[in-house]
C-alpha cells in the first residue's frame, strides 16, 4: 500500500498504478523518495521504471543487515532518471534464512557488479544473474564480511 502522502509523487503513483501489489510502503524523507517493493516483484517494477519512467541508470545496488531483526536484509536500489533529473530508492526486505532475490541485470547490465558485490559481502543470492562470483574477496573466502555477525577484527595468528 502506498502511503497517502506519496500519492502526489508521480513516480510513486505510477508504480502503484502499474502493480498495486508490488508496493509495500514508502516514505519521502530529507528530499529522497523511497519505495518498499515486494521482493518477488523487483525485476518487473525495475523494468517498468526503466522503460516507462525513463530511469535509465542504476546508480547502485547495496544491502543493509538489520541483524538480529527479521526480516534481516534490506536490498537497496538507487535509480536515476537523467531526463527528469530525478532519483528514487527501492527497497526489498529479505528474511535472514537463505536470502534470495531476482536479479535486475536483465534490466540494467550495470547491476552486474553491484549484485556480485552484495553477494560477495552479504551472501545474498541473485537468481538469474549471469556470473554470480565473489568480486572483492578471494574465491575461497569463507563468510560474508559485511554481515553484522561477522567480526571487524580477526584473531592474531
Amino acid at each position: 500500500m502506498l502511503p497517502d502522502n506519496l500519492r502526489d509523487r508521480a513516480a510513486a503513483a505510477a508504480v502503484e498504478v502499474f502493480d498495486s501489489d508490488a508496493v509495500m510502503g514508502g516514505k519521502f524523507d530529507r528530499g529522497e523518495l523511497t519505495l518498499e517493493i515486494a521482493p518477488a516483484k523487483i525485476a518487473s517494477v525495475c523494468g517498468f521504471l526503466k522503460y516507462d519512467r525513463q530511469f535509465v541508470r542504476i546508480s547502485s545496488v547495496t544491502a543493509v543487515d538489520r541483524y538480529p531483526r527479521e526480516p534481516r536484509f534490506e536490498i537497496v536500489y538507487h535509480l536515476h532518471s537523467v531526463e527528469h533529473n530525478q532519483r528514487i530508492r527501492l527497497k526489498c526486505r529479505l528474511a535472514g534464512d537463505a536470502p534470495r532475490i531476482e536479479s535486475v541485470t536483465g534490466v540494467w547490465r550495470g547491476a552486474n557488479w553491484y549484485e556480485r558485490e552484495v553477494f560477495d559481502l552479504f551472501g545474498i543470492q541473485f537468481t538469474g544473474h549471469p556470473d554470480l562470483r565473489r568480486i572483492m574477496m578471494p574465491d575461497d573466502w569463507e563468510g560474508y564480511p559485511l554481515r553484522k555477525d561477522y567480526p571487524v577484527t580477526g584473531s592474531r595468528v
Binding site: S59, V64, L146, V152
Partner: protein, 409 residues
C-alpha cells in the same frame, strides 16, 4: 624468438590446447602489476593476433573493507577513512561524506565554509586531472607531459600541505565545516598559482592537441555508445565526451555550486581524444571556479554553530565551563546522528560519487555504502575494448581515469 627456441614439451602443450585447424588464440594475463593499469587491475585478455577478442576485468586486489570499518568509527573519525578511498581526490570524498552526514543531522553550513569547500574540491579536481593527464600521456608515449603536469601538481599539493599539514590525506573538510581556517598567506599563494595555471594548460595543449602521434593514438579509439554507457553505469567525463550534459554540480547542486558561474564542457566524438578535450576544458572551468570563490569569499564563521557537533574554539574552552564539557563529550563519545538514510551525490573528478549513509541514532553509522565512480566506469571495459587492438586498449582504459582504491574500497 624463432620457433626452434620453444622447448618440445611446451610446444606439445600448445598443440594440445589449440588444434592447428581452429583459430589460434592466446590468453594474456595483463596485470595486476602492469604499469598501464594504474594500480592493481587485472585484465584477462583473449587475443587473436593483436586483436582483443574477449576481456574480463578482475578487481578486488585493493579491497580493504573500508565500508565495514565505517561501522566502528564515530562520524567525525570516519572522515579519515574517506580520504583513503580515492587517493587522488581525497577532498571530494571528504565533502561527499560530510554532506551526507550533515543532511542526516539537518545541519546548516555557513557560506564561508561552503565557498571554501567548493574552492578546495575544485583544486582537488585539478590535482586529479593533472595526474590523469600525466599518466595517460605517459602510457601512450608522451613522456614530457608527465613532467610538466607533475610540476603543477606539486604546487597544488604544497597548497594542501600548507593548510592541513598533509599532502594527500588531508581530512580537511569535516562534518560541520572545515578543520581549521587556512593560514595567513594561503590565499596569496593560491592566487599566485591560479595566475599562471591557465597558461600551463595551454602548454599541455601545445604538446598534445595538434600532435599527430597523439591524434593518431586517440582519435576514433575506445568508442562505446552512450546507451551502453548509461546502461553499464558509466558516469562523469566519459558521458560528457559522448555529448550528454550531465554534471551533479549543475543538476543537483550542493555546497552553493548554483551560485558559481561555470560551463559543463561536452564533446560528441565519444573517443579517447574527446575525453581528453573534455577533461582539459574541465580544468579551465575549475580554475574559473577557484578564482570566483577566492574573489567572492563571504565573511563569517568557517564552521557551523551547532555546539553538539562542532568542537568549541580553543579560547572559549579556557574560559567557559560549558565549552569544556561539550569538547569532552564530542571527543570521547562523538555526536549522535538521528535515525534515517540519505544518498548524497556529488561530482567527483571521475564521475558520480555517492555516499549512502544509514544512521541509527547512535554516534556511529549503521551502514555506509560508497557508490564510487571508478567501479561503475570499469564495468564498461569489456564493451569498450573488445574488438580493438591491444595497443588501443591501453589508450582506452587510460581514458576512463579509474583509481583502484576507489574501485575496490
Amino acid at each position: 624468438m624463432s620457433d626452434t627456441a620453444i622447448p618440445p614439451e611446451v610446444a606439445a602443450d600448445l598443440e594440445r590446447e589449440q588444434p592447428p585447424s581452429g583459430p589460434r588464440r592466446m590468453v594474456l594475463n595483463m596485470g595486476p602489476q602492469h604499469p598501464s593499469t594504474h594500480g592493481v587491475l587485472r585484465l584477462l585478455l583473449e587475443l587473436d593476433g593483436e586483436t582483443v577478442v574477449k576481456c574480463a576485468p578482475d578487481i578486488g586486489f585493493l579491497h580493504t573493507g573500508i565500508e565495514k570499518e565505517f561501522e566502528v568509527k564515530n562520524y567525525q573519525q570516519a572522515v579519515t577513512l574517506t580520504d583513503r578511498v580515492d587517493y587522488l581526490a581525497p577532498m571530494s570524498n571528504n565533502l561527499g561524506w560530510s554532506l551526507a552526514v550533515e543532511k542526516l543531522l539537518g545541519l546548516e553550513i555557513p557560506p564561508k565554509a561552503q565557498w571554501m569547500r567548493v574552492m578546495l574540491v575544485e583544486l582537488t579536481r585539478l590535482n586529479s586531472h593533472l595526474v590523469w593527464l600525466a599518466t595517460h600521456a605517459l602510457d601512450i608515449g608522451a613522456m614530457s607531459v608527465f613532467l610538466y603536469c607533475f610540476r603543477e601538481r606539486e604546487e597544488i599539493l604544497k597548497l594542501f600541505e600548507m593548510f592541513s599539514g598533509q599532502r594527500m590525506m588531508t581530512s580537511y573538510i569535516r562534518i560541520g565545516g572545515l578543520a581549521l581556517e587556512p593560514p595567513r598567506g594561503w590565499y596569496r599563494r593560491v592566487k599566485k598559482f591560479m595566475d599562471v595555471f591557465p597558461s600551463r594548460i595551454d602548454e599541455y595543449e601545445n604538446l598534445l592537441t595538434n600532435n599527430p602521434i597523439w591524434i593518431g593514438r586517440t582519435r576514433g579509439v575506445g568508442k562505446i555508445s552512450l546507451e551502453d554507457m548509461l546502461d553499464l553505469g558509466v558516469t562523469g567525463p566519459m558521458l560528457r565526451a559522448a555529448g550528454l550534459k550531465i554534471d551533479a554540480r549543475k543538476d543537483e547542486p550542493y555546497s552553493s555550486y548554483e551560485k558559481f558561474d561555470f560551463e559543463v564542457p561536452t564533446r560528441t566524438e565519444n573517443d579517447v581524444y574527446a575525453r581528453y578535450q573534455v577533461r582539459l576544458d574541465e580544468m579551465r572551468q575549475s580554475s574559473r571556479i577557484v578564482r570566483q570563490a577566492m574573489d567572492g569569499m563571504p565573511e563569517g564563521p568557517w564552521k557551523a554553530a551547532d555546539q553538539h557537533v562542532v568542537l568549541p574554539d580553543r579560547e572559549k574552552m579556557k574560559t567557559q565551563m560549558e565549552a569544556l564539557i561539550y569538547h569532552f563529550k564530542i571527543v570521547t563519545e562523538g555526536f549522535r546522528v538521528p535515525e534515517g538514510e540519505v544518498y548524497q551525490v556529488i561530482e567527483s573528478p571521475r564521475g558520480e560519487l555517492a555516499y549512502y549513509v544509514v544512521g541509527d541514532g547512535t554516534s556511529m553509522p549503521y551502514r555506509v555504502h560508497m557508490r564510487t565512480p571508478s567501479f561503475g566506469n570499469l564495468q564498461a571495459t569489456p564493451e569498450m575494448v573488445e574488438g580493438s587492438l591491444i595497443a588501443d586498449l591501453i589508450a582506452s582504459i587510460g581514458s576512463m581515469d579509474f583509481v583502484l582504491g576507489d574501485t575496490d574500497r
